[in-house]
């Protein structure tokens, strides 16, 4: 897979990564392949069971090269970190590079909702954001991807044929300008080739 030079060279500030049914394995694969020193913050929003407050984060940590943490409200977004939206809260990115949590109504039947994390991140990072949407069984994330694209960010979806359930990437493809439709291995290859991903922290 050949990526546009300009897409690789951009001075990105953050990555938002969303997914639902079937995405856990894909996220683990991505996090286990990128180096520990990968400097861009990765903000993950994934649909999860409401009453299981932990476990998910531990599982992600165990299998990946990086430590994954659930941010507390107003935590600073730091380079090199991987964050996971806590269950039963929406995870918003705030101007000033911090997180804000919210318990507002579910969006697309979900809390956390991928749309909210992506839209707020797009508002703050504009063209310096990469949005990645993976396999999933509902349409959450499509509007978020649309917003990322509208504000100049780069958009990647998982190749629908590779998805456990392709509703999510297809919904995004239907309404948003998607820069690349990629298999997991190519998503990883893209991240590894990023200029912004190579800087020494």
């Amino acid at each position: 897979m050949i990526f546009k030079e300009a897409d690789l060279k951009r001075n990105y500030k953050a990555i938002v990564l969303g997914g639902s049914a079937g995405s856990f394995q894909v996220m683990i694969k991505i996090l286990s392949k990128i180096p520990k020193e990968f400097p861009l913050p990765i903000i993950i929003c994934s649909h999860r069971l409401k009453h299981i407050r932990s476990g998910f984060v531990e599982a992600l940590c165990l299998k990946s090269n990086k430590t994954v943490e659930e941010p507390l409200d107003k935590d600073a977004i730091k380079r090199g970190k991987v964050y996971l939206a806590p269950s039963n809260y929406h995870l918003n990115v705030e101007i000033g590079n911090t997180f804000s949590l919210s318990t507002e109504e579910m969006v697309n039947n979900s809390r956390p909702a991928i749309d909210l994390t992506f839209e707020t991140a797009a508002y703050v990072y504009k063209e310096k954001l990469i949005g990645i949407l993976l396999t999933g069984a509902n349409k959450d994330g499509a509007k978020g991807m649309k917003r990322v694209a509208e504000l100049g960010g780069l958009t990647l979806v998982q190749e629908p044929t590779e998805c456990v359930i392709d509703t999510m990437p297809k919904a995004a493809l239907a309404i948003a300008k998607i820069d690349y439709t990629l298999k997991t291995d190519d998503i990883i290859s893209f991240l590894m080739q990023l200029q912004a991903g190579k800087e020494v922290v």
């Binding site: 009453h51 407050r53 659930e70 941010p71 507390l72 409200d73 107003k74 935590d75 806590p86 809260y89 918003n92 990115v93 705030e94 101007i95 911090t98 804000s100 949590l101 919210s102 318990t103 507002e104 109504e105 909210l116 839209e119 707020t120 508002y123 509007k143 649309k146 917003r147 509208e150």
Partner: protein, 275 residues
């Protein structure tokens, strides 16, 4: 192509100014991301632009109470975070051990579910007569709802399952009577609560409490306001009193942090140990 409605920082500042001017409520230190979403939500519901919203506010077509109700996030549930309530159930006897009476303040009680949870817990521990409860919110209409004790039946399944997970002792339904689509919380239990309209932005210390619960309210504030409100709580608390915040909130970085000792980090229970 329809583009998503959005607001700039300047526009947010403008509406904040208008609201402050007109209603004397200051939202300038609210977390911008969710404040913006709430404004956009009002615009969408009413199908109006920001200019029209501002005009309606200025021309008194939009009451203060409606605005407060629309701008705040009232989503709540009984025994939210059952593990917290389980811990509290075990902790209350100790909290009561060297006091005749406890004064508990629920700051930002929303429609009351958190307060009802507390009432049931205290009743089951047989200490209700030794407790005085203050429940407050900025949103007058939601306070009214809290006073009525009505919960839509469709929310009861979640409440019951939370109650059971929190180690509740009884048949949960005993605390309610069914009225059509609602479950109405026991009036007897509710009678030990004093509901008050308190805006945490403007509030000044008004009493001393033994336990202050302020859960999932601080997340709607920026750090400046969180810092002020935590100072207020510290000032409203007896030495040895307890502060409880939401599961994903933190007091670690605030000015009054050094006055508190962590009792349970996971459940966010702190004790005031210095003045």
């Amino acid at each position: 192509m329809i583009t998503v409605l959005d607001l700039s920082i300047a526009e947010l500042r403008k509406i904040t100014e208008v609201v402050k001017e007109k209603y004397s409520y200051d939202f300038s230190n609210y977390a911008a991301s969710s404040f913006k979403r709430r404004i956009l939500r009002i615009m969408e519901l009413k199908r109006i632009s920001l200019e029209q919203l501002i005009e309606q506010i200025l021309k008194n077509q939009f009451t203060r109470d409606t605005f407060l109700h629309e701008i705040t996030v009232n989503v709540t549930e009984m025994y939210r975070d059952p593990s917290f309530w389980k811990t509290l159930r075990m902790q209350i006897p100790e909290m009561l051990s060297n006091r005749d009476k406890l004064r508990i303040w629920h700051a930002g009680c929303s429609s009351g579910e958190e307060v009802y949870s507390m009432l049931i817990l205290l009743k089951e521990l047989n200490v209700l007569d030794r407790v005085e409860i203050i429940a407050s919110d900025i949103d007058t209409s939601i306070l009214q709802k809290a006073k009525e004790g009505k919960i839509s039946n469709k929310n009861m399944e979640l409440n019951i399952s939370n109650y059971q997970r929190s180690n509740g002792l009884n048949d949960f339904n005993n605390y309610f009577t069914i009225e059509k689509d609602n479950s109405v919380f026991s009036k007897t239990l509710l009678s030990s609560v004093s509901f008050r309209e308190i805006d945490l932005v403007k509030a000044i210390p008004f009493t001393k409490c033994d336990i202050i619960l302020c859960r999932n309210v601080l997340i709607y504030f920026n750090q400046i306001l969180q810092n002020n409100v935590l100072k207020l709580f510290s000032d409203c608390m007896f030495m040895g009193g307890y502060l409880v915040i939401g599961a994903k909130e933190s007091i670690a970085w605030c000015d009054v942090a050094s006055k508190f000792t962590t009792i349970n980090l996971e459940e966010k229970i702190y004790k005031k140990t210095k003045d």
